[in-house]
Assembly symmetry: C2
Protein backbone atom coordinates (compact mmCIF):
# COMPACT_ATOMS: atom_id res chain seq x y z
CA UNK A 1 0.00 0.00 0.00
CA UNK A 2 1.52 3.35 -1.01
CA UNK A 3 1.98 5.89 1.77
CA UNK A 4 0.58 9.41 1.30
CA UNK A 5 1.70 12.19 3.65
CA UNK A 6 -0.86 14.99 3.90
CA UNK A 7 -0.44 18.36 5.54
CA UNK A 8 -3.16 19.80 7.74
CA UNK A 9 -3.29 23.64 7.65
CA UNK A 10 -4.26 25.12 4.25
CA UNK A 11 -4.64 21.57 2.90
CA UNK A 12 -7.43 19.89 4.88
CA UNK A 13 -8.05 22.64 7.49
CA UNK A 14 -8.55 26.33 6.74
CA UNK A 15 -6.99 28.54 9.44
CA UNK A 16 -6.35 31.35 6.92
CA UNK A 17 -10.00 31.42 5.83
CA UNK A 18 -11.14 31.36 9.46
CA UNK A 19 -8.79 34.22 10.36
CA UNK A 20 -9.82 36.37 7.37
CA UNK A 21 -13.52 35.97 8.21
CA UNK A 22 -12.90 36.87 11.84
CA UNK A 23 -10.74 39.86 10.88
CA UNK A 24 -13.36 41.17 8.45
CA UNK A 25 -16.03 40.98 11.16
CA UNK A 26 -13.81 42.52 13.83
CA UNK A 27 -12.12 45.32 11.82
CA UNK A 28 -14.14 45.58 8.59
CA UNK A 29 -10.93 45.37 6.58
CA UNK A 30 -9.58 43.06 3.87
CA UNK A 31 -6.26 41.26 3.58
CA UNK A 32 -3.78 41.89 0.79
CA UNK A 33 -3.15 38.53 -0.89
CA UNK A 34 -0.21 39.91 -2.89
CA UNK A 35 1.75 40.36 0.35
CA UNK A 36 1.49 36.66 1.26
CA UNK A 37 3.90 35.50 -1.42
CA UNK A 38 6.88 35.47 0.96
CA UNK A 39 5.39 32.16 2.14
CA UNK A 40 3.25 33.27 5.09
CA UNK A 41 -0.43 34.22 4.95
CA UNK A 42 -0.04 36.28 8.13
CA UNK A 43 1.89 38.84 6.02
CA UNK A 44 -1.32 39.55 4.11
CA UNK A 45 -2.84 41.23 7.15
CA UNK A 46 -2.14 44.93 7.81
CA UNK A 47 1.20 45.23 9.58
CA UNK A 48 -0.25 46.85 12.69
CA UNK A 49 -2.43 43.79 13.29
CA UNK A 50 0.02 40.96 12.57
CA UNK A 51 0.95 40.54 16.25
CA UNK A 52 -2.72 40.21 17.12
CA UNK A 53 -3.17 37.61 14.37
CA UNK A 54 -0.20 35.62 15.69
CA UNK A 55 -1.53 35.80 19.24
CA UNK A 56 -4.88 34.46 18.08
CA UNK A 57 -3.08 31.66 16.19
CA UNK A 58 -1.21 30.74 19.39
CA UNK A 59 -4.26 30.80 21.66
CA UNK A 60 -5.86 27.57 22.96
CA UNK A 61 -8.93 26.56 20.96
CA UNK A 62 -8.09 28.33 17.68
CA UNK A 63 -7.32 25.08 15.83
CA UNK A 64 -10.18 23.14 17.46
CA UNK A 65 -13.05 24.33 15.23
CA UNK A 66 -11.47 25.29 11.91
CA UNK A 67 -13.44 24.93 8.66
CA UNK A 68 -12.63 21.84 6.61
CA UNK A 69 -11.25 22.30 3.08
CA UNK A 70 -13.87 21.62 0.43
CA UNK A 71 -14.18 17.94 -0.66
CA UNK A 72 -11.25 16.88 1.55
CA UNK A 73 -13.43 14.67 3.77
CA UNK A 74 -15.07 12.77 0.90
CA UNK A 75 -11.84 12.30 -1.07
CA UNK A 76 -9.76 11.27 1.95
CA UNK A 77 -12.42 8.85 3.13
CA UNK A 78 -11.99 7.02 -0.18
CA UNK A 79 -8.20 7.38 -0.29
CA UNK A 80 -7.97 5.96 3.23
CA UNK A 81 -9.23 2.62 1.86
CA UNK A 82 -6.44 2.16 -0.68
CA UNK A 83 -3.49 4.17 0.70
CA UNK A 84 -1.61 4.33 3.98
CA UNK A 85 -2.42 7.91 4.96
CA UNK A 86 -0.64 10.04 7.55
CA UNK A 87 -1.67 13.58 8.41
CA UNK A 88 1.56 15.41 9.24
CA UNK A 89 1.37 18.89 10.72
CA UNK A 90 4.29 21.16 11.64
CA UNK A 91 2.35 22.11 14.76
CA UNK A 92 4.94 22.03 17.54
CA UNK A 93 5.58 25.74 16.88
CA UNK A 94 2.05 26.26 18.30
CA UNK A 95 2.06 24.30 21.59
CA UNK A 96 -1.58 25.07 22.36
CA UNK A 97 -2.67 23.62 19.03
CA UNK A 98 -1.43 20.06 19.63
CA UNK A 99 -4.42 18.51 21.41
CA UNK A 100 -6.81 20.76 19.43
CA UNK A 101 -5.47 19.33 16.17
CA UNK A 102 -5.94 15.75 17.30
CA UNK A 103 -9.51 16.44 18.50
CA UNK A 104 -10.29 18.34 15.29
CA UNK A 105 -9.02 15.53 13.05
CA UNK A 106 -10.95 12.80 14.88
CA UNK A 107 -14.14 14.87 14.81
CA UNK A 108 -14.15 15.96 11.16
CA UNK A 109 -12.37 12.92 9.68
CA UNK A 110 -13.79 10.15 11.89
CA UNK A 111 -12.40 7.42 9.59
CA UNK A 112 -8.85 8.35 10.65
CA UNK A 113 -7.42 7.08 13.93
CA UNK A 114 -4.95 8.74 16.30
CA UNK A 115 -2.27 6.46 14.81
CA UNK A 116 -2.46 8.48 11.58
CA UNK A 117 -1.54 11.87 13.05
CA UNK A 118 2.01 13.23 13.27
CA UNK A 119 2.73 16.56 14.98
CA UNK A 120 6.23 17.79 14.34
CA UNK A 121 8.39 20.90 14.06
CA UNK A 122 10.24 19.99 10.90
CA UNK A 123 9.22 17.42 8.25
CA UNK A 124 12.64 16.41 6.92
CA UNK A 125 12.51 12.98 8.67
CA UNK A 126 9.17 12.04 7.11
CA UNK A 127 9.26 9.22 4.57
CA UNK A 128 6.56 8.14 2.10
CA UNK A 129 5.59 7.71 -1.54
CA UNK A 130 3.57 10.94 -1.98
CA UNK A 131 3.40 14.22 -0.06
CA UNK A 132 0.74 16.94 -0.38
CA UNK A 133 1.76 20.20 1.31
CA UNK A 134 1.37 23.94 0.78
CA UNK A 135 4.94 24.79 1.88
CA UNK A 136 7.93 24.22 -0.43
CA UNK A 137 10.13 24.00 2.71
CA UNK A 138 8.27 20.79 3.67
CA UNK A 139 8.37 19.28 0.19
CA UNK A 140 12.04 19.98 -0.50
CA UNK A 141 13.48 17.14 1.64
CA UNK A 142 10.79 14.57 0.86
CA UNK A 143 12.08 11.51 -1.04
CA UNK A 144 8.78 10.62 -2.80
CA UNK A 145 6.49 12.41 -5.28
CA UNK A 146 5.62 15.97 -4.26
CA UNK A 147 2.42 17.95 -4.76
CA UNK A 148 2.08 21.63 -3.86
CA UNK A 149 -1.41 22.37 -2.56
CA UNK A 150 -2.55 25.67 -4.05
CA UNK A 151 -2.92 28.61 -1.67
CA UNK A 152 -2.29 32.38 -2.02
CA UNK A 153 1.07 32.30 -0.24
CA UNK A 154 2.62 29.84 -2.75
CA UNK A 155 1.33 31.17 -6.10
CA UNK A 156 4.84 32.16 -7.25
CA UNK A 157 6.30 28.68 -6.64
CA UNK A 158 6.84 26.75 -9.88
CA UNK A 159 8.99 23.75 -8.84
CA UNK A 160 6.23 21.31 -7.92
CA UNK A 161 3.12 19.76 -9.44
CA UNK A 162 0.27 21.91 -8.19
CA UNK A 163 -2.95 20.51 -6.72
CA UNK A 164 -5.67 23.12 -7.02
CA UNK A 165 -8.31 21.36 -4.94
CA UNK A 166 -9.37 17.97 -3.60
CA UNK A 167 -11.34 17.13 -6.77
CA UNK A 168 -8.02 17.25 -8.63
CA UNK A 169 -6.46 15.05 -5.92
CA UNK A 170 -9.26 12.53 -6.45
CA UNK A 171 -8.45 12.37 -10.18
CA UNK A 172 -4.83 11.58 -9.40
CA UNK A 173 -5.20 9.20 -6.47
CA UNK A 174 -8.58 7.47 -6.97
Amino acid sequence: MERVIIDMDEVIADPMGEMINWYRGEFGREVDYSKMTSGSWVKGFPEEHQTLILERLMSPGFFRHLPVMQDSVDVLKEMNKSYEIFIVSAAVEFPNSLKDKLDWLLEYFPFFTWRQLVLCGDKRMINGDHMIDDHPRNLVHFPGKKYLYHTPHNISVTEYQRLHDWKEAAEIFL
Copy 2:
Protein backbone atom coordinates in the same frame (compact mmCIF):
# COMPACT_ATOMS: atom_id res chain seq x y z
CA MET B 1 25.28 15.13 9.33
CA GLU B 2 23.80 11.74 10.28
CA ARG B 3 20.28 11.78 11.64
CA VAL B 4 19.55 10.05 14.96
CA ILE B 5 15.96 9.35 15.97
CA ILE B 6 15.55 9.05 19.74
CA ASP B 7 12.52 7.86 21.65
CA MET B 8 11.31 9.71 24.73
CA ASP B 9 9.62 7.42 27.29
CA GLU B 10 11.96 4.82 28.88
CA VAL B 11 14.84 6.24 26.83
CA ILE B 12 15.33 9.86 27.95
CA ALA B 13 12.29 10.19 30.29
CA ASP B 14 11.33 7.73 33.00
CA PRO B 15 7.53 7.39 33.34
CA MET B 16 7.84 3.79 34.58
CA GLY B 17 10.26 4.79 37.37
CA GLU B 18 7.99 7.69 38.34
CA MET B 19 4.92 5.43 38.41
CA ILE B 20 6.65 2.73 40.48
CA ASN B 21 7.80 5.27 43.06
CA TRP B 22 4.32 6.76 43.30
CA TYR B 23 2.71 3.31 43.57
CA ARG B 24 5.08 2.23 46.32
CA GLY B 25 4.25 5.35 48.33
CA GLU B 26 0.52 5.08 47.72
CA PHE B 27 0.00 1.31 48.17
CA GLY B 28 3.23 0.04 49.76
CA ARG B 29 3.46 -2.67 47.09
CA GLU B 30 6.06 -3.65 44.49
CA VAL B 31 5.69 -4.34 40.77
CA ASP B 32 6.47 -7.71 39.20
CA TYR B 33 9.06 -7.06 36.50
CA SER B 34 8.68 -10.56 35.06
CA LYS B 35 5.12 -9.70 33.98
CA MET B 36 6.31 -6.78 31.83
CA THR B 37 7.85 -8.95 29.13
CA SER B 38 4.74 -8.82 26.93
CA GLY B 39 6.04 -5.38 25.98
CA SER B 40 4.19 -3.12 28.42
CA TRP B 41 5.45 -2.04 31.84
CA VAL B 42 1.86 -1.40 32.98
CA LYS B 43 1.43 -5.22 33.08
CA GLY B 44 3.95 -5.35 35.93
CA PHE B 45 1.48 -3.66 38.28
CA PRO B 46 -1.07 -5.80 40.15
CA GLU B 47 -4.03 -6.44 37.85
CA GLU B 48 -6.56 -4.71 40.10
CA HIS B 49 -4.61 -1.45 39.82
CA GLN B 50 -3.78 -1.38 36.09
CA THR B 51 -6.82 0.77 35.23
CA LEU B 52 -5.73 3.28 37.86
CA ILE B 53 -2.19 3.29 36.44
CA LEU B 54 -3.54 3.92 32.91
CA GLU B 55 -5.78 6.72 34.18
CA ARG B 56 -2.79 8.37 35.83
CA LEU B 57 -0.79 7.99 32.58
CA MET B 58 -3.63 9.70 30.67
CA SER B 59 -4.07 12.59 33.11
CA PRO B 60 -2.85 16.12 32.32
CA GLY B 61 0.49 16.90 33.94
CA PHE B 62 1.81 13.34 34.33
CA PHE B 63 4.43 13.73 31.58
CA ARG B 64 5.35 17.29 32.58
CA HIS B 65 7.72 16.51 35.46
CA LEU B 66 9.14 13.06 34.77
CA PRO B 67 12.65 12.13 35.92
CA VAL B 68 15.34 12.29 33.26
CA MET B 69 17.23 9.08 32.37
CA GLN B 70 20.72 9.04 33.84
CA ASP B 71 23.42 10.69 31.68
CA SER B 72 20.97 11.35 28.83
CA VAL B 73 21.26 15.14 29.16
CA ASP B 74 25.08 15.21 29.08
CA VAL B 75 25.41 12.70 26.25
CA LEU B 76 22.68 14.26 24.09
CA LYS B 77 24.08 17.75 24.63
CA GLU B 78 27.30 16.52 22.99
CA MET B 79 25.58 14.43 20.32
CA ASN B 80 23.44 17.43 19.37
CA LYS B 81 26.63 19.14 18.14
CA SER B 82 27.57 16.48 15.61
CA TYR B 83 24.30 14.74 14.69
CA GLU B 84 20.90 15.87 13.47
CA ILE B 85 18.79 14.74 16.43
CA PHE B 86 15.02 14.26 16.52
CA ILE B 87 13.13 13.17 19.62
CA VAL B 88 10.22 11.07 18.35
CA SER B 89 7.52 10.02 20.78
CA ALA B 90 4.46 7.85 20.04
CA ALA B 91 2.46 10.21 22.25
CA VAL B 92 -0.75 10.83 20.30
CA GLU B 93 -2.28 7.87 22.18
CA PHE B 94 -2.09 10.14 25.24
CA PRO B 95 -3.67 13.42 24.10
CA ASN B 96 -3.05 15.18 27.40
CA SER B 97 0.65 14.44 27.19
CA LEU B 98 1.35 16.38 23.98
CA LYS B 99 2.02 19.86 25.34
CA ASP B 100 3.51 18.39 28.54
CA LYS B 101 6.10 16.52 26.49
CA LEU B 102 7.14 19.62 24.59
CA ASP B 103 7.44 21.67 27.78
CA TRP B 104 9.34 18.83 29.51
CA LEU B 105 11.82 18.48 26.64
CA LEU B 106 12.56 22.20 26.43
CA GLU B 107 13.02 22.44 30.21
CA TYR B 108 15.31 19.44 30.78
CA PHE B 109 17.12 19.48 27.42
CA PRO B 110 17.35 23.24 26.78
CA PHE B 111 19.82 22.76 23.90
CA PHE B 112 17.01 21.17 21.83
CA THR B 113 14.49 23.36 20.01
CA TRP B 114 10.81 22.72 19.29
CA ARG B 115 11.87 21.84 15.73
CA GLN B 116 13.46 18.64 17.04
CA LEU B 117 10.32 17.12 18.58
CA VAL B 118 7.98 14.75 16.73
CA LEU B 119 4.76 13.51 18.38
CA CYS B 120 3.15 10.68 16.47
CA GLY B 121 0.95 7.61 16.83
CA ASP B 122 3.01 5.25 14.70
CA LYS B 123 6.71 5.58 13.74
CA ARG B 124 6.71 3.71 10.43
CA MET B 125 7.06 6.94 8.40
CA ILE B 126 10.16 8.09 10.28
CA ASN B 127 13.40 8.12 8.32
CA GLY B 128 16.97 8.46 9.61
CA ASP B 129 20.39 6.84 9.96
CA HIS B 130 20.05 5.58 13.56
CA MET B 131 17.11 4.93 15.85
CA ILE B 132 17.21 4.37 19.63
CA ASP B 133 13.93 3.00 21.00
CA ASP B 134 12.73 0.59 23.70
CA HIS B 135 9.94 -0.90 21.55
CA PRO B 136 10.69 -3.47 18.82
CA ARG B 137 7.42 -2.36 17.10
CA ASN B 138 9.02 1.06 16.49
CA LEU B 139 12.37 -0.31 15.32
CA VAL B 140 10.97 -2.92 12.94
CA HIS B 141 10.04 -0.52 10.07
CA PHE B 142 13.04 1.80 10.46
CA PRO B 143 15.38 1.80 7.45
CA GLY B 144 18.58 2.78 9.34
CA LYS B 145 20.63 1.21 12.15
CA LYS B 146 18.54 0.13 15.14
CA TYR B 147 19.36 0.14 18.85
CA LEU B 148 17.06 -1.32 21.51
CA TYR B 149 17.23 0.73 24.69
CA HIS B 150 17.32 -1.65 27.64
CA THR B 151 14.25 -1.72 29.90
CA PRO B 152 12.46 -4.50 31.84
CA HIS B 153 9.68 -4.91 29.28
CA ASN B 154 12.10 -5.80 26.43
CA ILE B 155 14.59 -8.14 28.14
CA SER B 156 13.48 -11.13 26.06
CA VAL B 157 14.02 -9.35 22.73
CA THR B 158 17.18 -10.52 20.96
CA GLU B 159 16.88 -9.08 17.43
CA TYR B 160 18.53 -5.72 17.99
CA GLN B 161 21.77 -4.27 19.31
CA ARG B 162 21.03 -3.41 22.92
CA LEU B 163 21.96 -0.09 24.53
CA HIS B 164 22.14 -0.56 28.29
CA ASP B 165 22.54 3.10 29.24
CA TRP B 166 23.59 6.51 27.92
CA LYS B 167 27.25 5.90 28.77
CA GLU B 168 27.18 3.06 26.25
CA ALA B 169 25.47 5.36 23.74
CA ALA B 170 28.30 7.87 24.25
CA GLU B 171 30.89 5.19 23.40
CA ILE B 172 29.10 4.44 20.13
CA PHE B 173 28.14 7.93 19.01
CA LEU B 174 30.80 10.26 20.46
